[in-house]
């Protein structure tokens, strides 16, 4: 019964997403995505965001919504999904024919087997992820037992409040915990069943990732090959098997946000803008780091929109302001939520971050995490290739947003772990790899684009008759449809 109800809940996520995309299409007046499988996976992520927002609203407003009402509403969405699926199945468009040959099928089998292995291992484990039972799942367990309105607070606040409960990550957003809670309303507090959310998340993301690459890349083997690489990364596997960390969610939603934004910038459709907006807004709902990625994404977007002619002037302005900042010893002012300090020795944003700035040599931890330990397989050995490709294809407009974001993310990571207190988090191996995990899908996606471009470059044997590469002209018409909500 528990498993059956769990399935009903999972269907409700898809149903919620389908309803949201239907509303989005009505608002923007467009047509849906003809590829059923990609629409399904996109609906899954939209449904997750929708449920987070709904439950967060119930929490914030303090409405005494009975559990039964939440269950019934979600069951209605599950029923809606079945109706939607039936209709879409009748109107589905056949998937594009694969031209990758026999090896495409080998890779597909390898991807499926990898996922199956992760799922089996995941099902064998109880809830062992430290972050889960210290934070995410602990919050959900409290709400599940005592109601969604129960407040979770830090220890110092708990001293004065008898009706609140302590949680070590009370200051973190509740997104993942709320999904845990909603799932538990159906499946009961069965940790092995609740853990199944992580393999499902990975399966949906892999399908979406594949179709996103398929729409952009010329070579048919690359998308499936890169999906296989993604699933074979040991650190990602750990986070699927040991369900309970929110970093995988962060990585996936970050990719969805950047990819949706790039699709909007490329095609300028309102529906793609709405989609991008949803995923960008979802970032801070998952982890505090979401705010950082949100700011970096907006920064990369701003940089992309600046005319290359003005870019030199822009950098001159940035350096000038930086010089002024250093010369006058930084900024410091009081706000309603606390002192706002941006000094060369201290960065403090109230309730978000507070870091002292000084150099620490965390090179050892970096080298160990990225290249020596088995965390990333051989992924980061491609970093030099990325730098070279990044330079060669710097004018390729379709990859510019991803590359600007990634380059600034790398800069930020270096600043964070070499110049602030956070160096200790790198040196004790508690944060560095998880932080890097967030940008891995974006990195793989851009590397796929660069590899595709390299493969499309005419070789000397091809002769002069081969059509030249049209790098920055955008994808074909099929690509326009693929990245849209269903």
């Amino acid at each position: 019964m528990s498993v059956l109800m769990a399935v009903v809940y999972l269907l409700s996520i898809y149903g919620f997403g389908a309803a949201i995309s239907r509303c989005g299409l009505r608002l923007s007046g467009g047509s849906g995505n003809p590829l059923l499988l990609q629409t399904l996976t996109l609906n899954f992520f939209l449904g997750l965001v929708g449920q987070m927002v709904l439950l967060n609203l119930i929490q914030l407003t303090g409405w005494p919504v009975p559990v039964l009402v939440i269950q019934v509403v979600l069951m209605l969405f599950a029923a809606y999904f079945l109706v939607w699926l039936l209709r879409e199945w009748r109107q589905r468009t056949p998937a594009p024919t694969q031209s990758g040959g026999w090896f495409w099928w080998v890779l597909l089998t390898a991807v499926a087997l990898q996922w199956l292995l992760l799922w089996v291992l995941n099902a064998q484990l109880p809830l062992v992820a430290w972050d889960a039972w210290v934070g995410w799942a602990a919050k959900a367990k409290l709400w599940y037992e005592q109601g969604l309105e129960l407040a979770t607070v830090s220890f110092s606040d708990w001293i004065g409040l008898s009706d609140a409960r302590v949680n070590q990550i009370a200051h973190y957003p509740d997104g993942v915990s709320l999904i845990y809670y909603a799932f538990a309303l159906f499946a009961g507090w069965n940790e092995s069943v609740l853990n199944a959310l992580w393999p499902l998340l990975l399966a949906n993301f892999t399908v979406y990732f594949y179709h996103s690459m398929r729409a952009r890349l010329h070579h048919p083997l690359l998308p499936m090959g890169l999906c296989f690489v993604l699933l074979s990364i040991p650190f990602l596997q750990v986070h699927v098997v040991m369900a309970g960390y929110a970093d995988l969610w962060m990585a996936m939603f970050l990719f969805l946000a950047i990819h949706s934004l790039q699709t909007f910038l490329q095609h300028r459709h309102w529906r793609t803008f709405l989609l991008a907006l949803v995923f960008i807004c979802a970032l801070p709902m998952i982890k505090l780091e979401g705010w950082l990625w949100l700011c970096l994404l907006l920064f990369a977007w701003t940089l992309k929109t600046i005319n290359p002619v003005n870019r030199l002037f822009y950098w001159a302005c940035v350096l000038f302001l930086l010089g002024l900042w250093l010369f006058f010893g930084g900024l410091e002012f009081d706000t309603a939520i606390g002192p706002f300090i941006l000094r060369p020795d201290l960065i403090s944003i109230p309730n978000v971050i507070e870091f002292r700035l000084y150099f620490t040599n965390a090179m050892d931890a970096f080298a160990n995490s990225l290249w020596i330990s088995q965390n990333w397989s051989l992924l980061w050995y491609s970093l030099l290739a990325y730098v070279v490709f990044n330079h060669i294809h710097r004018k390729y407009s379709e990859a510019m947003l991803y590359s600007l974001f990634l380059n600034w993310a790398f800069v930020f990571i270096l600043i964070l772990f070499f110049l602030t207190d956070a160096a200790s988090w790198a040196q004790n191996y508690t944060t560095l790899n998880r932080f890097i995990l967030h940008i891995v899908p974006v990195y793989l996606f851009i590397m796929a684009q660069y590899l595709d471009l390299q493969l499309r470059l005419p070789s000397p044997e091809d002769g002069p008759t081969k059509a030249p590469l049209q790098a920055s002209t955008g994808g074909d018409e099929a690509a326009v449809q693929v990245d849209q909500p269903g």
């Binding site: 484990l125 220890f155 302590v166 083997l221 074979s232 090179m363 330990s373 790899n433």
Partner: protein
């Protein structure tokens, strides 16, 4: 040509930056400083206890359990300046169990988290990657006597601690280490469950060797079979596929066999002893508090203490949704601010440590402690 020029400029810039860093790092710490400390002590087993015959100026501390600790008392050494310590014990009889220790700046003693297993007659070398050296005040060794048949217990023996070799931190150290680790064959190391989400073990074989094999294999196949870019790509993915098949074998081994003693049995699909203890204790405490009450009152507040961080947080999780919080010495002074009627302190330890209640770090000046439940591993006290 442009690409070649770009790569050349990039490499030159990298070299320049590294030289600048090396120069600045070299100015801060003497790159050649290596300290070697040879010390000699002798221990005698007397009636199952260890006694010091002569100590040669070293600090020995006798513990209540019969063990003996020795710390190298060199207050002039600033450990934060060093990256690596090698310590060797020579001529250690096999009957003498030994473990390497470090004392933090607060004076608390810990066992070094990473090191080679203690076997045979020496412990060497030691390179605890996971230690924050700014926290280290002293290094030391603890000996525990393990009498065996055929051993003459009254016979004194000599013991040397040699080569406390401190190597200074240098900017190029990590790069040198990176190269040596990449080219060396590594044993598969598996971290504790706390760190599995942060690190996922090490390569079984040298990554450089793997990459070299992969490239060689790919080139061979490319040379013989590949006639197009599609076939080249196929070869590259075949290489990755082989690598992953190899890794999958390791990954399966990782999840099925987890040798780390701390909280890792769960990774093999079985709730380990510590978790079972936490679960059992939480059930007993819940039952006790519910006894006489229809349900646990919301006013009941539980503070949980254990010297083991895993045990404490895991117990807290099992006790949910009760009103439970972590108790530690720093926050102890806050307890008397709680204006609740029912405030309890729950102490849980994993081993049979005698009276568990005595290990509670509570200042009696804060209030009265009344013992309400006392079992083998845990103790529940009322705070008033």
């Amino acid at each position: 040509m442009n690409t070649l020029r770009f790569i050349a400029i990039l490499l030159l810039s990298l070299a320049l930056v590294l030289l600048l860093f090396a120069w600045s790092a070299g100015r801060r710490v003497d790159a050649t400083a290596v300290e070697t400390l040879d010390v000699t002590g002798a221990l005698t087993p007397v009636h199952g206890q260890l006694a010091v015959v002569y100590d040669d100026g070293l600090e020995f501390q006798s513990e209540a359990d019969g063990s003996l600790s020795l710390f190298v008392n060199r207050k002039d050494i600033d450990f934060s300046q060093y990256a690596q310590v090698e310590m060797a014990i020579k001529d250690r009889p096999p009957q003498l169990e030994a473990e390497l220790l470090w004392q933090d700046v607060r004076g608390e003693t810990h066992v070094l988290p990473v090191g080679r297993s203690v076997s045979g007659r020496s412990i060497t070398p030691l390179n605890p990657d996971w230690l924050d050296w700014t926290e280290v005040r002293q290094l030391g060794v603890r000996f525990v006597l393990q009498p065996q048949i055929g051993w003459m217990p009254e016979e004194p023996f000599k013991l040397y601690i040699r080569h406390l070799r401190l190597r200074s931190q240098h900017f190029f150290d990590p790069l040198r280490r990176l190269w040596s680790e990449l080219t060396a064959f590594q044993p598969l190391e598996i971290q504790s469950i706390n760190h599995l989400g942060n690190q996922s073990g090490r390569f079984l074989y040298s990554p450089v060797a793997l990459v070299a094999c992969w490239i060689a294999l790919s080139l061979l196949i490319l040379r013989v079979f590949a006639h197009s870019r599609a076939e080249m790509l196929t070869c590259v993915f075949i290489g990755w596929l082989v690598l992953v098949l190899f890794q999958t074998k390791l990954n399966l081994a990782r999840w099925q066999h987890h040798p780390d003693a701390q909280a890792t049995g769960a990774a093999a699909g079985v709730i380990n002893n510590l978790d079972a203890l936490a679960l059992r204790t939480s059930n007993q405490v819940k039952q006790f508090l519910q006894h006489g009450q229809n349900q646990v009152s919301g006013a009941v507040r539980l503070l949980v203490f254990s010297s083991d961080d895993f045990l404490r947080t895991r117990l807290m999780y099992h006790l949910l949704p009760m009103n439970v919080a972590k108790f530690d010495a720093q926050r102890g002074t806050l307890v008397n601010q709680i204006q609740a009627d029912q405030l309890y302190l729950l102490v849980l330890e994993s081993g049979p440590e005698g009276d568990v209640c005595l290990s509670a770090p509570v200042d009696p000046a804060q209030g009265t402690l009344t013992r309400v439940v006392s079992e083998r591993n845990y103790c529940l006290m009322r705070l008033q």
